[in-house]
């Protein structure tokens, strides 16, 4: 349907067309350019059925990205460019801001390293602010526990590894770096309340940290609560209320009830029966568990394989009722997945993605029915974040 190119001689007519625009356009389609440049904006608050797909772009880690998709329509809504060794974005509870811990080098992959928390306006996806932080944020296979907000959104906590271990505390109200909390031997960050979190230590104990208004920290070290030999737990815990659900490589659930100053493991249970374990069924993937407080339900990516496959993708999802600890549903995904996530509403969507395939699949979480697939979402999508 392409017309011949305008030759220079056509310039005149173009100029005329433009000059006469007001008049000549009456019966025509309206001019876009008359309205000047336009840039789309997003509804605030975001729909509960929107999902952020985070991408650490493994072959070109300097160019991390995040993509926003509408689960109800499959529409691609927007992009963030998020720098080197990107983990994931964090969404403020008031829906107005997106926090993104980012790392940059003055010469792309060399030179001076600068770590920042970039604040993006949730409605415009423009940079709304930038907070300088110590250039220490951990570079690892992305985990939700790389960075978290306290339950009151006052503090942003970022796990550091250089390889000394610590936690960077950012005051989101003052928009400034507050302090660094040394957590020798303990990794990652899991919030436990308005002003508290814990890290998990190498011996299976927890470092419980309570923060005051100034970001001051009171640290408590628990007894070992997790088995580190034998069948250790993964970092890929999910949370409902006061309970963090950790899962072991073999598929044993450790419900951890944790607060500012104490923590205890509730009775454990298995995702699998003895027979299923014998048959090699175990959870796997990068974001292998997802929860929704309705029910409440826990979803797990399952596959068959040895202990060395504990991070491998799976094609099956098993669904558990957390109140009865019973499996209530099983279904096969459209394709292999390394990550799943649920929307947080009463009629949740389930999202699945595979790090080496870039189609986002969207399911009715209640039935496992595939609703739609969104093609070409990124390069190496890792973990997903929902409002």
């Amino acid at each position: 349907m392409r017309f011949r190119l305008m030759k220079p001689v056509h310039l005149v007519s173009a100029l005329m067309a433009c000059a006469l625009l007001g008049g000549s356009a009456r019966a025509d389609l309206p001019s876009d350019s008359e309205r000047g440049a336009q840039v789309a904006t997003l509804a605030v608050p975001a729909s509960k059925h929107w999902v952020w797909v985070n991408d650490f772009v493994f072959p070109h880690m300097a160019d991390g990205m995040a993509y926003l998709i509408d689960g109800d329509t499959g529409r691609y809504l927007g992009t963030l460019s998020t720098g080197y060794s990107f983990a994931h974005v964090l969404l403020s509870r008031d829906s107005k801001l997106i926090y993104s811990p980012e790392t940059y080098f003055s010469r792309g992959t060399r030179g001076t390293r600068t770590d920042v928390v970039t604040l993006y306006d949730a409605g415009t996806l423009k940079v709304a602010g930038e907070i300088a932080i110590p250039p220490k944020r951990s570079s690892n296979l992305p985990m939700m526990a790389n960075a978290v907000l306290t339950d009151d959104d006052r503090f942003l906590l970022i796990y550091n590894f250089n390889p000394a271990q610590s936690v960077t505390v950012v005051d989101t109200k003052l928009r400034k770096f507050v302090r660094e909390i040394e957590t020798p031997g303990c990794a990652l960050v899991y919030p436990t309340g308005p002003r508290s979190f814990f890290s998990v230590c190498g011996d299976g104990s927890l470092s419980l940290v309570a923060l005051d208004d100034a970001g001051g920290a009171h640290q408590t070290r628990t007894q070992p609560l997790f088995n580190v030999a034998g069948d250790p737990v993964t970092e890929k815990a999910v949370r409902i209320g006061d309970i963090w659900y950790f899962v072991s490589f073999a598929g044993r659930i450790y419900p951890l009830e944790a607060g500012p100053r104490q923590a205890a493991v509730k009775p454990t249970w298995w995702l699998t029966s003895d027979a299923e374990r014998k048959a090699g069924w175990r959870p796997g993937g990068i974001q292998q568990l997802a929860v929704n407080s309705q029910g409440p339900r826990l979803y797990a990516i399952m596959h068959r394989g040895g202990v060395e496959t504990h991070k491998d993708p799976g094609k099956d999802v098993w669904v558990f009722d957390l109140s009865t600890r019973q499996r209530v549903q099983q279904f096969a995904l459209k394709s292999m997945a390394t990550s799943i996530q649920l929307s947080s509403d009463a009629h949740p969507l389930l999202y699945s993605i595979f790090i080496d395939a870039t189609d986002l699949n969207i399911y009715d979480a209640a039935t496992g029915k595939l609703l739609r697939s969104v093609e070409h979402v990124g390069t190496t999508p890792t973990i997903m974040v929902t409002p």
Binding site: F3, G36, Q38
Partner: protein
């Protein structure tokens, strides 16, 4: 480049084309350049961009005109306005055929084509303003090399990245729009 695979209509042949940047700018474009890149036409309005906040959320929805008057799928390479486009279609990237995706800036420098609207039978002057400031969108690549010529004639070469030359729309290219300037009489 996974996204390339699905974009290919006739694979191999299409591949070199896919690597091209920017589509054909008519003589008009040369004029813009001649004028030291100070755009003098409605397409120049890209320059005095309102703050993104001003753009309504609805702007993200394709086509404001009725589907009948503005037929076709703006996220398809076949959409009538795309007769001279070269790049990722903003309609697949969070924008539309006339609006940039959230958080990007519209380049004030643009190239122009003349496209035929099958519904009203009129020819329209279309400006393909780039949206800039984020890494490549990577979706819905659309390109044709008809009429394309060498870099010696920037106005008619699609190998340039037009996200250049102003502080807001810096070099990172994200996607391309296809905006109506007016009818070409």
């Amino acid at each position: 480049m996974k996204w390339l695979d699905a974009l290919s209509e006739n694979s191999a042949r299409a591949l070199a084309r896919r690597t091209s940047r920017r589509s054909v700018l008519a003589g008009l474009g040369t004029f813009l350049l001649g004028a030291a890149a100070v755009p003098l036409l409605p397409v120049a309005r890209g320059a005095d961009s309102k703050p993104a906040g001003d753009a309504s959320g609805a702007a993200a929805a394709p086509g404001t005109a009725s589907p009948k008057a503005d037929p076709g799928d703006p996220s398809s390479c076949d959409y009538w306005r795309h007769c001279a486009v070269d790049g990722f279609l903003c309609g697949c990237c969070g924008g539309s055929q006339s609006v940039c995706p959230p958080g990007t800036d519209m380049s004030p420098v643009t190239w122009i084509g003349t496209c035929h609207n099958p519904s009203d039978g009129k020819d329209y002057v279309i400006s393909y303003n780039d949206c800039c400031g984020k890494s490549a969108c990577g979706r819905c690549f659309c390109n044709r090399n008809e009429g394309d010529t060498a870099l010696f004639q920037p106005g008619q070469s699609n190998d340039y990245n037009w996200c250049s030359g102003n502080s807001k729309a810096n070099i990172p290219y994200h996607c391309s729009t296809a905006r109506i300037v007016g009818t070409a009489k």
